[in-house]
């Protein structure tokens, strides 16, 4: 098609441009102002597959998770007005976690814009602060280049969501189509040699380096170089939650997640380091706690692609900007080979001292049905390559602490925005991205109730998703804060919902199990893994389970709480 020019309407230009960008799957929900676009999808269903969600939010999370597990741009389509506003949480979720996503919305005809027409909202105005960039296309002649530009912005450098708002008449009007070919990526600046030398000097002078790596490593695909870098430095590695899957959890240098709910050895050594090497991280408050105390006795080397992150949250001693793969491979050649038995040995001492923090809080004996044991039991049934999606809350932290990831991009979880309700739509997107392979969703009873309708989407498309509901009958994470900081005044966190998850699953066309012990869970997992239909396993646990360790918000590593007083 390259070089060919012919007239097409805006809807056809949109679909052809998506296809020219290699898009094979889109998620969305039709409506009045996207009728033309959906008509075009109807005629091209052999080239591009649209999956209908139950709610636009679910479709947005699906497109987001699709992008997270593949690294490709996820695409979501919604109508104007409520369709667009229902995307907002999904777009913000993608924005905070730097996911490449294109959101295409319809809008009222340009002749009606600004007149409060039916289902009209200022979509670009609403989404301006939560997109990497957005466009309102008022002229069909600019549609093709705008869409190509949107893809380029979404995937280049630090990725992010881009919204393209296309009024109905722009979908109807005709223009020349030039093939919709992808534009080259916006180039990433090459790392500055002087910065690399400063970084290498800092690293070589360090006695107790600590590698704090994040989501940027996964986005860049720099996992292998991170391992080589850590090995040549012989330095321990802690990951932010977004960094999970960037480092093999069974590697001897791996300490575990760091930060508010990080494992004790990871967070303590983070605090004791004389040099923190932040790689693809943004020093979020959940990872650092009080920034003044965080940087008081340490030097900080910040390596990232996005220069606004340097010195934004924590002032750095030195920084290197550019693509992580390029920077890490340059740095590896500049490092003195070192062995640090004493510094590494510190991890074991911390683990021995603080190990009880990661034990099951409410465990009475080895048979108690605790979250950690649930996660470990599920893990034993799963392959290393299987994708895990989570919702947000206690269950998410337990998965982050205990699941044990080994393969990059096998976790899709809402980090920055902390979006309860991400999970079910996310699981649909992740499962589609993996060609319908078995996908696991860990959720809580609070999160699941937010967007559980998307279970029907999973059934509709025959997606073999196993939903593990860590069901404590409360909004566990908020309750935990109420327990620890609000004198056990459980304001609106006791759910008391009589939901029967087995009947719910069956009513929506899936299957379900209710379990309250490890033997029951084992049996349910055997059943679920033997079946291809979406399955819910409702795991009843104690309402007072807590996530430990915990560093209170704004606290520091020395404020770590490891048990309820």
């Amino acid at each position: 098609m390259k070089g060919v020019r012919f007239e097409m309407n805006g809807a056809a230009i949109t679909v052809e441009t998506l296809i020219a960008h290699g898009v094979t799957d889109v998620f969305g929900y039709p409506g009045g102002t996207v009728l033309n676009l959906y008509d075009e999808l109807y005629g091209n269903s052999d080239r591009i597959t649209h999956r209908l969600s139950c709610h636009e939010q679910g479709a947005a999370h699906a497109a987001d998770a699709y992008a997270r597990v593949t690294g490709r741009v996820g695409v979501v389509i919604a109508t104007s007005g409520p369709g667009a506003t229902n995307l907002v949480t999904g777009i913000a979720t993608a924005y905070l976690d730097s996911t490449p996503m294109i959101a295409i919305t319809g809008n009222v005809p340009t002749t009606l814009m600004g007149k409060d027409a039916f289902q009209e909202v200022d979509t670009t105005g609403i989404t301006m602060p939560i997109t990497k960039h957005n466009f309102l296309v008022k002229d069909v002649d600019q549609l093709e280049e705008t869409l190509c530009e949107a893809f380029r912005i979404a995937r280049s450098g630090r990725p992010g969501p881009v919204l393209v708002d296309i009024p109905k008449d722009v979908q109807v009007n005709e223009a020349d189509f030039r093939g919709g070919q992808p534009l080259p990526d916006i180039p990433t600046p090459t790392a500055n040699q002087q910065c690399l030398e400063e970084a290498a000097a800092l690293i070589n002078a360090s006695e107790r380096p600590y590698i704090y790596a994040g989501g940027g490593v996964v986005i860049s695909g720099a996992e292998d170089l991170l391992r080589q870098f850590a090995e040549s430095l012989d330095a321990p590695v802690g990951l932010s939650m977004m960094g999970l899957t960037a480092f093999d959890s069974e590697h001897p240098l791996y300490l575990g997640m760091t930060g508010m709910h990080g494992l004790p050895e990871s967070s303590k050594m983070h605090a004791e380091a004389d040099l923190i090497i932040g790689i693809g991280v943004r020093f979020s408050d959940r990872a650092t706690g009080d920034t003044k105390r965080y940087r008081a006795n340490t030097k900080i080397l910040h390596i990232d692609i996005d220069d606004v992150e340097v010195d934004k949250n924590v002032a750095s001693t030195a920084s290197v900007l550019g693509d992580l793969k390029e920077i890490l491979s340059s740095l590896i050649g500049m490092l003195d080979q070192r062995e640090r038995p004493e510094w590494k040995g510190r991890a074991k001492k911390v683990r021995d001292e603080w190990g009880r923090a990661v034990m099951d809080y409410k465990a009475q004996d080895e048979h108690s049905f605790t979250p950690r044991r649930i996660i470990k039991t599920v893990r034993a049934h799963a392959t290393d390559e299987m994708v895990v999606v989570t919702d947000v809350g206690q269950h998410q932290m337990w998965v982050a602490q205990h699941y044990g990831f080994k393969v990059p991009r096998t976790l899709a979880t809402s980090g920055g925005l902390g979006t309860m309700g991400f999970g079910m739509g996310g699981a649909v997107g992740a499962c589609v991205a993996k060609g319908g392979a078995r996908t696991l969703l860990f959720t809580g009873d609070g999160s699941f109730h937010m967007n559980m309708a998307e279970f029907a989407t999973a059934v509709r498309y025959g997606l073999p998703i196993i939903v593990i509901v860590i069901d404590n009958s409360v909004l566990g994470m908020v309750r935990q804060w109420q327990t620890l900081f609000f004198g056990e005044r459980y304001s609106q966190t006791t759910l008391e919902r009589p939901t029967d998850y087995v009947k719910l699953a069956e009513a929506l066309g899936g299957s379900g199990y209710m379990v309250s012990d490890l033997a029951g869970l084992e049996k349910a997992l055997n059943g679920a893994f033997a079946s291809d239909i979406p399955t819910i396993i409702d795991c009843k646990i104690d309402s007072d389970e807590m996530v430990f360790p915990m560093i209170p918000a704004g606290g520091s590593f020395e404020d770590m709480i490891v048990e309820r007083n």
Partner: protein, 84 residues
Amino acid sequence: MISTDTIQHFTISIIVVNRAGALSRITGLFSKRGYNIDTLTVGPMAERPGYSRLILASSGDEATKAQIIKQLRKLVDVAEAKTI
């Protein structure tokens, strides 16, 4: 990085593509990130058709000033941002 808590006043020159919403992106950035706008003037550039120049007076410490410039440069519609 130079870190000082001293509040200073500074002026920024921004060249922005003449596109609907471009000014809103800049003012939105300032409100979203909690930066001050003391004064703001804007007009088309005779020497560069299709672009406008904004002169913006702001205040903050050294770190804030550096962040403002970097955040502005990150906006897709901003062609240039510097303190003058």
